[in-house]
């Protein structure tokens, strides 16, 4: 009867000398592995969003959380006049990144998406644009 107890205690005590797994978040920051699917960012090229508003991401999105509205710029070219992602609905599947034909969207390692109001979870084009 005493043997199983000792065995248990052995495991317990052995962990006292191993490296701790628990992270003292937010004082300690996690190490984000590559390929992590966090908040989206719109890539920029030549000071403009690369997005051409082809509507493939809203089409492929299984959660239907992306809203795109195309506009015509002064050169008659297509651009995203409106690009919104509703983070409350997003399931971070990454299909939008896969579908994008012009490499305009990627997923960053930002995972802290808590907010105070529902409306603030709808990320607009301005907030999604890649920060320089």
């Amino acid at each position: 009867m005493i043997m199983p107890l000792l065995q248990g205690l052995k495991i317990t005590f052995s962990h006292m000398f191993k490296k701790t797994i628990t992270l003292q978040y937010p004082h300690e920051r996690p190490n984000i592995p590559p390929g992590f699917r966090g908040l989206h960012a719109l890539n920029v090229s030549h000071d403009k969003a690369k997005c051409v508003a082809c509507y493939l991401c809203p089409t492929v999105c299984p959660a239907k959380c992306i809203t795109v509205e195309a506009g015509e710029d002064a050169n008659h070219d297509k651009y995203a006049a409106k690009y919104e992602i509703d983070m409350l609905r997003c399931i971070f599947c990454g299909y939008c990144v896969e579908a994008c034909p012009v490499d305009a969207i990627r997923m960053t390692d930002t995972f802290e998406l808590a907010n105070m109001k529902r409306a603030d979870f709808v990320f607009t084009k301005e907030t999604l644009l890649e920060k320089k």
Binding site: V52, C54, Y55, L56, T59, E72, H76, K78
Partner: protein, 829 residues
């Protein structure tokens, strides 16, 4: 019939079929890029290559090769697939891969075939085209870099539209589709080229970047402009009508649309739509709730009812559905006890409701649209038939070019129809139509060309008597044609095996009334050209439901007041409540000043419309109604076709469909239960309107039902006198512009881009006499008013004649007119 084998399937097809047709009949799909079922085979793209065993395995195009007996065809051998891949590779050599920004993506034949044939790499490389993209016009964007040279746009513009805006320019590698002098596109903008373009070389600009094809939901319905009754597929996203979609299998016209049908849909989601009821308070129209507005209307109608009903009157547009018109008529006739109900000022229905009714025994045209292509001789009254009913114009084009129909245009000016191959145009003096057709009848009688069957029709003797004074020699001068021309036309008409007369109606054509219709019906009856295929008189109602309005009896009967009498009554104070549904008399009825005075005078004016029109601005209560895209019901078009209109979107704002409003008012005023739905009303219509007997709402199907006409014809002499010219004055003719229909199209962006304002069209001779150029302002002055219009100099106008379209609110031509066929005006710069 020919028997052949395609991919081991036995097929039997008519001997004029091609391999492509035969395969289609057998359910085998052969890929195509340059072929269209409406156009002559072209054989340019080489996608439809097939192998025929008898031709030693040679690859031949299926779309141009006629079938022969015992042919053994293989459509997808490895060699063929290889060849097709090669065709696609070569096309993709020049075609830019900009699918993400190309609006055609999802509806692009090249994209679909590339996917199907798995062409994901190209063995060749070359530079792409660097053509300038044509952004000059507001409707069609031409990006010739994407063009795959299928030539469909050039062919449809030539074969069906007969405008010929495009042609292949240059040769070899530099070949491209272009316009004359390789300039920007400037055509009638029917958009047929956009509809057939297999790639994104021709795109709709109003729809540009609005949505992807796969995100649109589609609703089939009927166009709400002219009376042709073209079927329409609306593309809808997020509760908005974003575009019209081409469907080559739709309707008699195979999806072919005119400029207003294709581009005029924007009025549905226009910002100018009324979204709440308005009530006049302290002289101003202010927003109100439905309860408030409806109770004001009800109160007013109740008091009219207790006063005997005669003080209430209604002017209604024939744009409403049959069901709405029926309920409205019941509201007035049954609930209120008033017979004062009319539409289109009487002009646009008189030919049917009085002319055809007396002469034929039923108020409709005896012919159908299908007769246009089956006839031998087509007599078109006024070249304007193209402008009033453009898709019927396409039918005429096809009849002339494909079926060899002998086209005779009798008109007061030339027009596009005059340019068709071997078409003969007889330009007569304005307003002399009845005179001319009576003279023709007289020639037919005089030369004994009368059909044997005519003697059994009553009234022949009377007709003969009445025609005494119409000898061609006598009327030639007044008609402005030579007696010989009249005689030849009469003989040709009488001797033709099959002959069809086309008569367009409309608010802009006050001369096209009872007498003209009867003169034409007399001609057809005399020569036995009624009741046979390809014969008769096709009377073309102006609006989408003009025929339906006549069928529903929405014109005064039993001592009721007609439109003119109603307005006179308003001015005199006998009509105290006027209910205007969808009409805009201030702009469209003759004599604007008198109409405005009458509407200002009337005690209570209720206007129910989509927009705050010139008429609605005068109202005491304005009720916001719904467009055709927001309602269910039926329209009856030219040739008596009853078709279903289907609701595509929810009502805009707080607007309610005319049916909902009228149903509520009827139930309240008649103190009965309201109708359950439109189907219930249609059931009552089929019980009460003899022509609609046995037709059910559900049974109308996709292509509608032609109601059967039956009646006893008789000859009714038509009175026609010479129009007395006034010296030094010009003859002003009103009518329809190609881009517009009534006053509704003014709220569609497409038509307004191309034709934004009224104009006065005059001949080069008159222009040089008046020293005016295009766009100079002309002052037109008649006995009743004066307007200033931009001049448009054109070769089609005869000297001394001016044409002005009637659709526009500012500087409206109805300031000048009083309802006579011809208005005499002084013109100065």
């Amino acid at each position: 019939m020919v028997n052949l084998t395609i991919d081991d399937k036995q097929v039997t097809v008519p001997k004029d079929a091609t391999i492509y047709d035969a395969a289609k009949a057998a359910g085998i799909r052969i890929p195509i890029l340059c072929h269209d079922k409406k156009l002559h085979p072209f054989g340019g793209c080489r996608m439809c290559l097939v192998e025929v065993e008898q031709m030693k395995g040679r690859q031949i195009p299926a779309c141009t090769t006629p079938v022969t007996e015992g042919m053994i065809v293989r459509t997808s051998t490895p060699d063929i697939i290889q060849a097709r891949k090669m065709v696609l590779e070569l096309l993709l050599l020049k075609h830019p891969i900009d699918c993400p920004v190309c609006d055609a993506a999802g509806d692009c034949d090249l994209q679909n075939l590339t996917y199907e044939y798995k062409v994901n790499a190209n063995r060749f490389t070359d530079e792409k085209f660097q053509h300038k993209i044509d952004y000059e016009n507001p409707l069609i964007e031409r990006d010739m870099n994407r063009c795959i040279h299928c030539g469909k746009c050039a062919r449809i513009c030539d074969e069906i539209v007969s405008y010929g805006a495009y042609s292949f320019l240059n040769r070899g590698l530099e070949a491209k589709i272009g316009t004359e002098f390789d300039g920007p596109l400037n055509c009638e903008f029917c958009g047929s080229c956009v509809s057939v373009c297999p790639v994104g070389a021709l795109l709709s600009r109003p729809f540009k970047f609005k949505a992807r094809w796969w995100a649109l939901s589609k609703t089939k319905t009927v166009c709400s402009y002219c009376g042709t009754g073209c079927q329409l597929t609306l593309g809808i996203k997020d509760g908005k009508v974003l575009t019209t979609i081409y469907d080559e299998n739709q309707g008699f016209h195979n999806g072919q649309l005119c400029t207003r049908g294709r581009w005029g849909y924007q009025f549905v989601n226009s910002d100018k739509r009324l979204t709440t009821p308005l009530i006049r308070k302290n002289g101003k129209l202010v927003q109100a709730s439905w309860e408030e507005a409806l109770s004001a209307v009800k109160e007013r109608l109740f008091s009219a009812k207790t006063a005997g009903g005669e003080s209430a009157a209604c002017l209604v547009t024939p744009r409403l559905t049959n069901e709405e018109l029926f309920v409205l008529k019941k509201l007035f006739n049954v609930a209120l006890g008033s017979q004062n109900i009319d539409h289109s000022a009487g002009y646009a229905h008189n030919a049917l409701s009085a002319g055809a009714l007396e002469s034929l025994g039923y108020a409709a045209s005896p012919s159908t649209i299908a007769d246009i292509q089956k006839t031998n001789l087509l007599l078109v009254v006024k070249s304007d038939a193209y402008e009033t009913h453009p898709v019927l114009g396409f039918e005429i084009n096809l009849g002339v070019k494909r079926k060899g129909v002998d086209l005779r245009v009798v008109s007061d000016k030339r027009g596009k129809l005059s340019r068709l191959p071997d078409a003969t145009t007889y330009v007569h003096k304005p307003g002399s139509e009845v005179l001319l057709f009576n003279a023709m009848a007289r020639v037919i009688i005089g030369e004994n060309l009368v059909d044997a069957g005519a003697s059994s029709i009553s009234g022949l003797a009377e007709l003969k008597n009445s025609l005494q004074g119409y000898a061609p020699e006598k009327v030639a001068e007044a008609c402005g044609m030579s007696a010989d021309e009249i005689i030849v036309l009469a003989r040709d008409y009488a001797k033709a095996e099959k002959a069809l007369i086309m008569l367009p109606l409309g608010l802009g054509y006050p001369g096209h009334g009872k007498d003209l219709a009867q003169a034409l019906i007399n001609l057809a009856l005399l020569t036995g050209k009624i009741g046979k295929e390809g014969c008769g008189v096709l009377i073309m109602g102006e609006k989408n439901n003009s025929q339906g309005a006549v069928d529903m009896g929405v014109y005064p009967a039993k001592g009721g007041k007609d439109a003119v009498a109603i307005l006179d009554g308003c001015a005199a104070g006998t009509v105290k409540t006027l209910y205007v549904v969808g009409e805009n008399p201030v702009v469209s009825y003759p004599n604007r000043k008198a109409v405005e005075a009458a509407l200002d005078k009337v005690e209570f004016l209720i206007v129910q419309d989509l927009f705050l029109t010139e008429t609605a601005e005068k109202a005491h209560v304005v009720l916001p109604a719904c467009s055709f895209a927001e309602k269910d019901g039926t329209f009856t078009s030219v040739g008596k076709v009853i078709q279903r209109v289907n609701r595509a979107i929810a009502p805009v704002g707080l607007s309610r469909s005319d049916f909902e409003i009228l149903n509520a008012l009827y139930a309240a005023c008649a103190n009965t239960q309201p109708y359950a739905d439109v189907a219930a009303v249609f059931a009552e219509i089929s019980e009460n309107v003899p022509a609609y007997k046995g037709i059910s709402y559900a049974g109308l199907g996709e292509n509608g039902v032609i109601w059967p006409a039956g009646g006893t014809p008789r000859f009714v002499p038509a009175e026609g006198g010479a129009v007395q010219g006034e010296s030094g004055k010009y003859a002003l003719l009103t009518g329809s512009a190609l881009n517009h229909c009534g006053t509704l199209s003014r709220f569609g962006e497409g038509p307004m881009y191309v034709c934004p304002a009224g104009y006065a069209e005059l001949s080069y001779t008159d222009a040089s006499a008046l020293k005016v150029k295009n766009d100079d302002l002309l002052t037109l002055k008649s006995a009743s008013g004066e307007v200033r219009l931009k001049a448009k100099v054109s070769a089609r106008m005869p000297q001394g004649v001016i044409f002005a379209p009637y659709h526009f609110g500012e500087e409206s031509v109805n300031t000048l007119t009083t309802g006579a066929p011809v208005t005499w005006v002084n013109v100065s710069k």
